[in-house]
């Protein structure tokens, strides 16, 4: 946060609440995965909450967000109800997609959340198409595609960056650089670890942002969104962050050097924002209320989700064709 004098405490408290909602949702997901209510591969974004919180406040209802399998937080920040999301993860009929999407591939288009994606980099060209449609349908829609650092080494992402730049499409490319591409350090897989620099080669602005600070993310997102809406084309934002957990639940994280996670915990978004708000004079009671409201919401959502019936196998073949 840096400059406590200019901290907008109302905005900061709202951000803190946004961070907590994602954090507590993710903790609940972990709990349900470990208890067996949720099965399969689950990728948490604990520590990376500032990205969705900072970006999504800059978006309108018509704008389209495309995320990755680490997308729970982006969906929540987009307004997707936690109960329908948890029901989806737990394979319930009331899930967003009735259990067809699961943790890694759910979609909630009515909230402007057009899916997670389990194929690294695949969402970027699709987001380009959503922005392309905005050129013809008069909606003024822009598209945000979120991906990890590893996705910048995928061909599809390069094709999307170039396509969007060549046609000046309203796409915001958001790279969440958490320093690891799945289990491998990004630094070992690129010669130039400042990934935002690639933007220049495509003829678009690229910016490295403190991805653990929702206000810094918001400022950068606003510039990118304004540029996109003005028809000036795409922007690549590189949000520097760290995940405080493994790539997936069950990841032993033996690839992470000792002390790394502990250090990251000192710089994670909630710790930082809470300290900054406290320094700016926000009371402990207000700070605690931000957390407890989120906890109450998620607890209630989990109860609703788990009370719903298991998805009916008799419907498994529905919706393959029109």
């Amino acid at each position: 946060m840096g400059d406590a004098q200019v901290l907008d405490t109302t905005r900061g408290l709202a951000d803190l609440h946004g961070l907590w909602r994602i954090r507590i949702l993710e903790e609940k997901v972990r709990e349900l995965r470990l208890s067996g209510e949720i099965v399969g591969s689950v990728h948490l974004a604990i520590g990376q909450e500032a990205g969705p919180v900072g970006v999504c406040t800059e978006l309108g209802a018509d704008d389209a967000v495309f995320a990755t399998y680490r997308g729970h937080g982006w969906a929540l920040a987009r307004g997707v109800p936690a109960d329908a999301m948890l029901a989806e993860l737990a394979g319930r009929t009331t899930g967003l997609n009735g259990g067809r999407g699961g943790s890694a591939y759910f979609t909630a288009p009515r909230y402007g959340f057009h899916g997670e994606n389990s194929i690294v980099g695949a969402g970027a060209p699709i987001a380009v198409g959503a922005a392309l449609a905005g050129k013809y349908d008069g909606s003024g829609r822009i598209a945000v595609t979120v991906f990890g650092d590893g996705a910048l080494n995928q061909g599809a992402t390069h094709e999307a960056l170039n396509f969007a730049a060549a046609f000046k499409l309203g796409v915001v490319f958001v790279c969440e650089n958490n320093l690891y591409s799945e289990l491998t350090p990004i630094a070992d897989m690129v010669a130039e670890p400042e990934l935002h620099k690639r933007a220049a080669a495509y003829g678009m602005p690229g910016e490295r942002v403190d991805g653990n600070d929702p206000a810094a993310v918001r400022d950068a997102a606003r510039r990118a969104v304004e540029r996109a809406r003005a028809g000036e084309g795409p922007t690549l934002l590189e949000l520097m962050t760290e995940r405080l957990v493994g790539h997936y639940i069950g990841d032993a994280e033996q690839y992470r050097p000792p002390g790394e996670v502990e250090r990251a915990k000192q710089a994670e978004p909630i710790v930082r924002l809470r300290a900054a708000l406290a320094a700016a004079g926000v009371t402990d009671a207000d700070l605690d209320a931000s957390e407890s409201r989120a906890r109450e919401e998620i607890e209630q959502a989990a109860g609703t989700a788990l009370a719903a019936p298991i998805a009916d196998g008799a419907t498994a073949k529905e919706h393959i064709y029109a």
Partner: protein, 338 residues
């Protein structure tokens, strides 16, 4: 009482080559369906490397545009645009090139409707062309329909006549599913034929009995239908009557048309240009076997042997089923004792 129209009605039929018929269908879709977008590599200003999209940029402006050589971005953006209500028709210049972006077809387009329970389908049309022709090389000559047909969620049509080319494009453009229209470049330079261009879009899934016969049913599709018909003509001179059932749509497949024909002939051959192993011919045979319809002799698959396709015409012709080879195998099939 018919209402007075303010515009002159289009002629009901035109004399068109195969590629021109497809162009006419694109004109109609771009005219009648304002959400239609048409794009791909070299399709707009150059009018397509085979000329199929000629004149459309001039007529429809920026709804028709050229793209970078980026198959993932072409297919992926089509999906994204379709998710937002556009009706994109994209060209993958050679079917072989779709392989560099198969993720967008298999993992993305085919899943969109299913995962969202119908809330967010991706009705895209992918026009491509495939098959062997003189001077092709190994990466410009494959027949890939079976690859697409293995993927639930995708529709596949392989029109052979100009009329079917027109009807297939029109049906695909109105379909709410992702449809892959597989053309064949050997057909583009064919004769002009009468093509009806009025009327409602034909529902997907049609099959045509191109030639009636009593001795053997040949189920076939795509450009090789011409060779099957030539073989059938030759055999007719020897008194052997081949019934040729052309499956224009492979998904949805009209199996009934094949079974009906087998009720008349009792013998089945499948002829396709694609490799035999895992080809769609194997699927047709399997479905016929499952149907329990009695056959008087064992069915046969006639296709390209499991080989790569060479560049030299003499080598390629040695592999792709010729009229002679088809005729010989059909003769052998019919001469087998029941």
């Amino acid at each position: 009482m018919p209402e007075a129209t303010t515009t002159a009605p289009a002629p009901a039929a035109l004399s068109l080559k195969y590629g021109e018929a497809i162009n006419a269908a694109l004109v109609r879709l771009l005219t009648e369906v304002p959400e239609t977008l048409l794009y791909g590599e070299d399709v707009a200003k150059p009018g397509g490397v085979f000329g199929v999209t000629r004149g459309l940029r001039r007529r429809f402006g920026d709804r028709v545009f050229d793209t970078p050589i980026s198959e993932s971005a072409i297919l992926g953006s089509a999906i994204g645009a379709a998710l937002m209500g556009r009706r994109p028709i994209v060209e993958i210049m050679w079917a072989d090139f779709s392989l560099v972006a198969l993720d967008q077809l298999v993992n993305q387009a085919a899943n969109a409707r299913y995962v969202s329970r119908g809330e967010a389908p991706a009705p895209i049309v992918v026009r491509t062309q495939q098959g062997n022709a003189p001077g092709a090389c190994a990466q410009h000559s494959q027949s890939l329909e079976a690859l697409f047909l293995h993927v639930p969620g995708l529709r596949v049509v392989m029109p052979w006549t100009a009329q079917d080319g027109y009807d297939a494009l029109l049906a695909a453009g109105h379909s709410d599913d992702p449809v892959i229209v597989i053309e064949n470049r050997t057909l583009y330079a064919g004769e002009k034929t009468e093509v009806r261009i009025d009327g409602s879009p034909r529902p997907a899934g049609w099959t045509t009995v191109r030639r009636p016969g009593r001795d053997v049913t040949v189920a076939t599709w795509g450009a090789i239908t011409a060779r099957v018909l030539a073989a059938a003509e030759r055999l007719a001179a020897d008194g052997l009557e081949v019934e040729v059932v052309e499956l224009t749509w492979l998904n949805p497949l009209d199996l009934t048309a094949v079974l009906d024909s087998l009720g008349r002939t009792g013998r089945l051959a499948v002829v396709h240009e694609a490799n035999v192993t895992g080809g769609f011919g194997a699927e047709v045979l399997a479905r016929v076997a499952e149907s329990g319809v009695p056959l008087s002799t064992a069915p046969v698959r006639i296709g390209t042997p499991d080989s790569r396709i060479p560049a030299a015409p003499s080598l390629a012709e040695a592999l792709v089923p010729s009229v002679d080879a088809i005729a010989a195998q059909l003769t052998k099939l019919v001469q087998e004792k029941p």
